[in-house]
Amino acid sequence: MIRLEKRAAPSRIWAYLTPVVAVLATMVAGGALFALLGTDPWQAIRTIFWDPIFGEFAFYYRGQLLVKAGPLILIAVGLALGFKAGIWNIGAEGQYIIGAICGAAVGLAFYPMEARWLIFPLMVIAGAIGGFLWAMIPGILRTRFNTNEILVSLLLVYVAEQILAWMALGPLRNPEGAGFPGSRNLRNYESAANTELFAGTGMHWGVVAALIAVIFAYILLSRHLTGFHIRLTGESPRAARFAGVNPTRLVLFCLGVSGALAGLAGLFEVAGPSGQISIDFNVGYGFTAIIVAFLGRLHPVGILLAGLLMALTYIGGEAAQATLGLPAAAIQAFQGMLLFFLLGFDVLTNFRVRFGARAAA
């Protein structure tokens, strides 16, 4: 029989080791899955994890890595603040969409004026405000009426998707687009484009924002009083109340920051890699960021690494689909395994495994 015994204190070693073990276990189980599908597991794993960085076409994939990791990290850092305090914003995808719409709308409103110094910063601000306001809906409903922010924020994703479709077909549709849905391409409008900062690296302003967010979140959590209060609330809400934490303010702060960061991610995406508001603009970054946040142990630096790893599985997964003919569902299952194993091995941080029957002693 296997038993779990609670540790007196959480194991530091395991806290750092679990992500690594989870990745290894994912490789093993994923490899088995690919083998059952009739693909060589070694090749599949190599295609996903190795080739994008060191393979023949790495020059292309490496740029993609930052492009994909940027929004994931930016969103996940914001989410982690709330998750640490036990405030569950599940609707980052919606805030991402609304941020993109607001930012793009501001940019398009100025078209074709040439004033990058003015237009791009305004778009950034509008994107952040859009995401912020969309996150305030679950925030205010929770603090005023005690609704569940998980449900409200999640359901608002679907509302945001409908608004996105309406925008792409209606108000923001490209007047010169021959009636096709979708806005003008912001990449072709220099004053509003989120351009690549160094050619071939995939580095754009969104990646810069993500790095800044990582640094700020790290300082906030480790040194700032608000960060201390966030951790305290997550550890023990009653102790936080005793310490004098105002729960209403904290809920609004966490939801607001995560919403604003998700909105920023949306803006940088729509003005850069994606280029336009279209019906299928959102690709699930807001949901994947939840996995990234947990994979990174809700720690800013961990999230940075987890975001890169997650981006790698995306890119590698696509490559595996293209070159090995693996079905998309298999790749999604593979990514799901990562979170599954992470949470599973997480038990080891707080518990010790004992083998053998319960000692009669």
């Binding site: 040194r223 700032h224 550890e235 005793f242 004098g244 002693a361």
Partner: protein, 504 residues
């Protein structure tokens, strides 16, 4: 001599890092009341858990009625004839008495039969209890009766009672003792666990004294003095807190007609509480648990808001201020629940030191926490209050209850409060540490602070209080000078026996 009912020999149980029971042996005769005496952490609970089948011993042998006996589960212990009333009740507030009793039985009879049985047992043992009442509405004393009746319905040969009087008023204690004597006269043996010496001297026929997991002696409590029993139990001379004779200053805290609804569904709302607390005064607030103690601490600490003018600190209204603003003004509090209220379990001691101390100890500058100062403050608390811990960076939950208690009380005392409110300051703390905490509270008062101590330990309150009041169903009795109060007067202030007559 006849066979004892329960004989225990060489019982040993070790947990990682601590030997809870080391070669323990004693025996209980049929129809006797046997006391198990010891401080908190002496190993009493582990011992009875082994008898009741909750814990398996590492070594040793038990005989029940002459037969070798080693229960693998409480179920087995119950079917042998052992019943236990725990210190913490396992009752569901939202169910009625009969339903609660049924939940604890092996195969309960139909509800109507059970209700009649409950009525019968409660009448014959003088434990009045209506089977149809909701447990959520019962007093602690009545809840205990539910547990006792549940045990009695199994017709046990041995009844184990773990600190049964800690939640009772003196009058309720008297009713309980009458019941226990009646049981004893019918041949039931009782294993009575307590650290209250006077109770044991009035009730018990024999006593086994445990210290640090070992039997350090046995005595006939009827003829041994309380002082001698205490000396065996503690193993060192008790430091009695120094006498207090300093004059009282101005009113530091005034509570005026304070009524506040409890935030919890089964909490107790505070009703019309008024009191004055002077500088240098120690006001002891007694009362049975669940009569508004948590709520009183909450409204004073600022966790529960009240009308602004209902609480005056130095004659300034503070009822609407939060905990941080009240700390700034010098009103500090230490809640009863150590883990999860006074301290965050998984956070380190230095983080927990910052939890309530960051403001007054200047650990935060422009919203940036200076963790070095937090560590220093934690070390100061640890050394001043003799907190046994490997360091400041261990999580709070790794400390034993008593050590963490010293830490959370010390954390507030060392912030030099103007007014300090503490709830159960020495709960679960060993005798010498408890004496140290009490002395620190007295020193604080002597230095001119006003101290309000909420406690269920009447001996403690009598020892340190200048004035005394009792909470009963959310109301505070009149505040009276502590000196010269009799136990009967205190009992009446605490609400008597909740309208229950003594068994005949």
């Amino acid at each position: 001599m006849t066979t004892p009912l329960l004989q225990v020999e060489g019982l040993t149980k070790a947990y990682p890092g601590v030997i809870a029971n080391d070669d323990v042996g004693f025996s209980i005769g049929k129809g006797t009341v046997h006391a198990l005496l010891g401080e908190n952490g002496a190993g009493k609970s582990t011992l009875v858990k082994m008898v009741y089948g909750l814990v398996r011993s590492d070594q040793g042998e038990m005989r029940f009625d002459g037969e070798v006996f080693s229960p693998a589960s409480p179920h087995e212990a119950r079917s042998t004839g052992i019943a236990m009333v725990f210190q913490h009740f396992s009752l569901f507030d939202a169910l009625d008495v009969a339903e609660n009793v049924a939940l604890g039985m092996e195969d309960p009879p139909p509800m109507r039969t059970l209700a009649r049985q409950i009525q019968d047992v409660s009448e014959s043992y003088g434990l009045p209890l209506n089977p149809d009442r909701l447990v959520g509405d019962l007093s602690a004393g009545e809840r205990q009766r539910v547990e006792i009746i549940r045990c009695l319905l199994q017709d046990p040969k041995l009844l184990i009672m773990d600190e049964p009087t800690s939640v009772l008023t003196p009058q309720e204690v008297e009713i309980l003792f009458q019941t226990l004597r009646k049981l004893q006269s019918e041949g039931t043996s009782i294993l009575y666990i307590s650290h209250k010496l006077e109770e044991i001297r009035t009730l018990c026929d024999a006593a086994t004294i445990l210290r640090l997991g070992k039997v350090v002696g046995s005595a006939d409590p009827k003829v041994t003095s309380a002082r001698d029993l205490a000396a065996m139990m503690v193993g060192e001379e008790l430091k009695v807190p120094a006498a207090r004779d300093h004059s009282l200053g101005d009113v530091a805290l005034r509570v005026d007609g304070l009524s506040v609804a409890s935030p919890g569904a089964f909490g107790t709302s505070l009703k019309e509480i008024s009191l004055e607390l002077r500088k240098g005064e120690v006001l002891g607030v007694g009362g049975v648990a669940g009569n508004g103690q948590d709520e009183l601490l909450g409204v004073l600490s600022g966790e529960i808001k009240s009308p602004a003018a209902a609480i005056l600190l130095d004659e300034k209204p503070v009822g609407q201020l939060g905990p941080v603003e009240r700390r700034a003004l010098g009103l500090l509090a230490a809640p009863e629940e150590r883990l999860g209220h006074a301290a965050a379990p998984d956070m380190s001691l230095s983080e927990n030191a910052a939890l309530s101390g960051w403001l007054r100890k200047g650990m935060v500058n422009r919203n940036i926490v200076d963790w070095k100062k937090a560590r220093n403050f934690a070390s100061e608390v640890i050394s001043t209050f003799d907190v046994r811990t490997p360091g400041t960076e261990v999580p709070a939950r790794a400390l034993s209850g008593g050590n963490l208690q010293k830490f959370v009380v010390g954390r507030e005392i060392l912030q030099s409060p103007e007014v300090l409110v503490v709830n159960q300051p020495t709960w679960g703390v060993d005798a010498s540490a408890a004496a140290a905490i009490r002395q620190a509270l007295l020193d604080l008062a002597a230095a001119g602070a006003a101290v309000l101590v909420i406690s269920q330990d009447l001996d403690e309150l009598m020892e340190i209080s200048t004035t005394f009041a009792a909470l009963n169903e959310g109301r505070l009795s009149k505040v009276r000078p502590a000196q010269g109060l009799t136990i009967d007067e205190i009992g009446m202030m605490m609400g008597g026996a909740h309208g229950m007559e003594v068994a005949s």
